[in-house]
Symmetry: C2
């Protein structure tokens, strides 16, 4: 337990937790003032995000049913917006992704982390971006105001980014930096920024005319801290969902209920994304590894002491 105890007692952890508390408070305030309703997270469910990278199964059996730990609440977020009384929802959603050990060294992977996971109904990606821009600026402003002493103790200087945050097209950055464009751009920028158009999971919307163009995006932290948020406009039409699952060799049998809802025309037209809390706190506090901001870090491939 020595490693755990040393981490817990570390004076740095006091400052980090204070910054985290302020950042979370700013997020909740912003959401409440923006009329985004908050729902409770789902931990176990019959169907969860397939993800587009290798990872191990994490599921349990209960009364004859196989229930998976949430990898992201994407499908639950979409369906939650079936309700006619609100068009914006968020979850503070712990995700478990039992990734391969190699990711432990990236500095930004935990196999268990929390997203502030947001979804908007009948809105465009530009509208979603404006909501997230506002949230990020509000977090920076609040943390800078409330945590002056903590930031000084951590040797961290922050500035509130000017809005709107810059938006880059992935093609434009790839042409400039090559395949490592995400890291290169993150290293070069001084404020958080967006990159649009990534090929990934089936549920991110592909342009109906220009195949291979995706109406999705990531936010990146600057100074090399990398990915902050992932999201997109969503597929909601049954034929598109089935086509894209087929292209990606997604096991459709694992998504029977979701596909049943889609076939019935029950997936609302939505746009959204999830921002990782621990990665945000890592950036705000200027830590080397995302493990450094967690009281009980779960790093891919590492033995968990407690």
């Amino acid at each position: 337990m020595q490693r755990t105890v040393r981490r817990l007692k570390d004076a740095k952890m006091t400052h980090i937790l204070r910054v985290q508390s302020a950042a979370l408070k700013a997020i909740h305030d912003y959401m409440y003032e923006s009329d985004v309703v908050q729902a409770m997270p789902v931990v176990l469910s019959p169907e969860t995000d397939p993800l587009d990278h290798p990872h191990f199964d994490a599921s349990v059996e209960y009364y004859g049913q196989r229930l998976h730990l949430t990898k992201s609440m994407i499908f639950h977020k979409q369906l939650a917006l079936l309700n006619g009384g609100f068009d914006k929802i968020y979850f503070m959603s712990p995700n478990v992704r039992l990734e391969e050990g190699g990711l432990g060294g990236t500095g930004r992977h935990l196999f268990e982390f929390t997203q502030v996971d947001i979804e908007l109904k009948e809105k465009s990606k530009e509208e979603f971006m404006a909501v997230v821009d506002g949230m990020i600026a509000s977090v920076f402003a609040f943390v800078i105001r409330e945590c002056e002493d903590d930031l000084r103790a951590l040797g961290r200087e922050l500035r509130v980014p000017e809005l709107p945050l810059k938006v880059y097209e992935s093609e434009e950055l790839r042409a400039r930096y090559g395949d490592g464009f995400e890291s290169a751009a993150s290293l070069k920028e001084k404020d958080p920024f967006w990159i649009t158009n990534f090929k990934r999971e089936f549920y991110d919307k592909e342009d109906s005319v220009r195949k291979g163009y995706y109406h999705n995006y990531d936010v990146f932290w600057p100074e090399g801290y990398g990915e902050a948020l992932s999201g997109g406009e969503r597929e909601f039409e049954y034929e598109n969902i089935v086509r894209k699952m087929t292209e990606r060799k997604t096991d459709m049998d694992s998504y029977r209920k979701y596909l049943e809802a889609a076939r019935g025309g029950l997936i609302p037209r939505t746009v959204g994304g999830g921002l990782g809390i621990e990665r945000m706190v890592r950036f705000l506090t200027g830590q080397e590894h995302v493990r450094d901001v967690a009281l009980f870090p779960r790093v891919p491939g590492e033995h968990i002491e407690f």
Copy 2:
């Protein structure tokens, strides 16, 4: 998916989510203003709460390690307070307790739910009670102010309870009502109230002189809604922990790291408790069953549709 879709589309759910959002906002505001730092929940860990009632195992294997879904963050909360820079911490902690199907009918059990889980260092149970009293009153005041229309639509009248909330001894209530004293008192009372002294898990503090008297407590919602919060002063001395584990036939091999910390004198002297969010929202909105406030309810023994 018909049941899920009907639930999600229900106009009542709009009002319930608005009340929930206001209640959560009030909790976070109160905690922030009270200098209670917020840390991120743990979902999987090698050691978790043994619980004192029957339930099924919920664990996964990852890189050769058996990791259990959090039943409560009791041990992590205690250890988190090893940090010298703060003496109050809370988590919005999703708990998974794969309970027996019979509990599905109580109206207040979900096998997956979220607690606002609080722990204070070097404080008495009276001090903890004052913090919780303040939190509850603040939630009521905020919800009544912000959700007037929602409460009217739900046909629900609430009043801000006078503080301090009433405190009963379990012995006094048992003498008055018999073994069903919790339900009887919950039915009779008009405001939330405390009951102290329950025999349960090893980690709740037993009086050092009067054996069989426990410095723990529950908060109950009135009008028959039942249990709201459970907590207590905690055992922190190795000998007491081992004695009480032995008395309860707790499998010590499952708590090796915790016992190692205790043997090293590393468990701080703390007091705390966890308040169930879904049960709170059920009471605030006057719903029959806790399932009625969840978008995707997980009721013990029931088939999970989505």
